[in-house]
Symmetry: C2
Subunit: 202 residues, 2 copies
């Protein structure tokens, strides 16, 4: 906004600008449009933001975000608690949940193995996962870490560790060409894997 | 987020979602990433948002947003106060200011003439503009309302009114084909106007 608007507005804009996916221009528009809000709505947003950290903690069972001891998913009796999907962060839960094909529960690692960043087995919620499987009747664990170097390494480590300790099914999300995409734009690594992992259709 | 995250987080997301340019997905990402902020930054944003309305008012001279009697532009002695650019809203100021070709001051109408919405001459800051020109040494007024039906009507009305009352230069921003665009995509109305308003080059 470069000095033409009031300082408090510019400050809001520059704070919003540090959020993901928000450029300077969008942040400016957002800040300006906050002025059109009712005072009561502004106060509501202000209060919510101010108390966000103190209200939100991690689910004692799975590590998802929660406002009480257990998150909304772990405390849902309609979910299949014998089926655990292992993810890196709470953000990944939403993507998987939205696809509508998974009705199990989650386990949030809190990251992925990354020796270069000094993130080893003990930095992640891996012991909690083992303990959780040990103490509960778990049928299958789906490894849903991201399909990049560190995510794959984390999945491989977990697959090894789980199969050594438990007689349960362990699976990995299918990797391949995304639906709706043009093969022309597939990268070589993905294409190669899609060939290697081809499924017989008849 | 559909019930998988804490309620306070979903509330923040749904409030952010009502801002312009922010879809559900971006709002979710923003809300989640607020959790990564330092507590002090959250409090700062919270306080800014909560006090936005009480801090910000309209500049007594031009109608721009301000935190004191005069906005940053009107109180800037390095600006050319004899040159007034008339805009509809404070938001348009930023676009004009950023182009770097205008060093005058602004006058914010607070809308445009729109009989259907019951917005007439008295609903806009038109009398203030006339008074401002009458009491100050103004050299030129640039009419910069948007080039749509109502913006054009507003500009036409102002041109008439100003030329009847004052012996000053009155101009309208140039309308035509935008720079960097492909003529192929120009609409007929714009193209027609670009022909009509063509400039001799030698």
């Amino acid at each position: 906004m470069s000095g033409i608007y009031p300082k408090s507005l510019e400050e809001v804009s520059s704070l919003l600008c540090s959020l993901p996916g928000i450029g300077k221009r969008t942040a400016d528009r957002m800040a300006l449009s906050l002025l059109d809000w009712e005072e009561s709505e502004l106060i509501r947003l202000s209060n919510l933001i101010g108390s966000l950290k103190e209200k939100i903690r991690f689910c004692q069972i799975c590590g998802n975000l929660a406002e009480s001891r257990e998150c909304a998913i772990c405390s849902d009796p309609k979910r299949d608690h014998q089926l655990i999907c292992v993810v890196e962060t709470p953000r990944q839960i939403s993507v998987i949940n939205k696809c509508g094909r998974f009705n199990g529960v989650f386990h949030v690692l809190g990251g992925r193995l990354s020796p270069l960043d000094d993130i080893g087995v003990d930095s992640l919620n891996i012991n909690q996962l083992l303990e959780r499987i040990r103490e509960n009747d778990v049928r299958e664990v789906i490894l849903s870490t991201s399909p990049d170097v560190e995510g794959e390494a984390t999945a491989a480590y977990l697959a090894e560790e789980l199969s050594r300790n438990f007689a349960i099914a362990i699976s990995r999300i299918a990797l391949g060409i995304p639906l709706g995409s043009d093969l022309m734009f597939a990268d070589a690594a993905t294409m190669g894997m899609a060939i290697d992992a081809r499924r017989p259709i008849r």
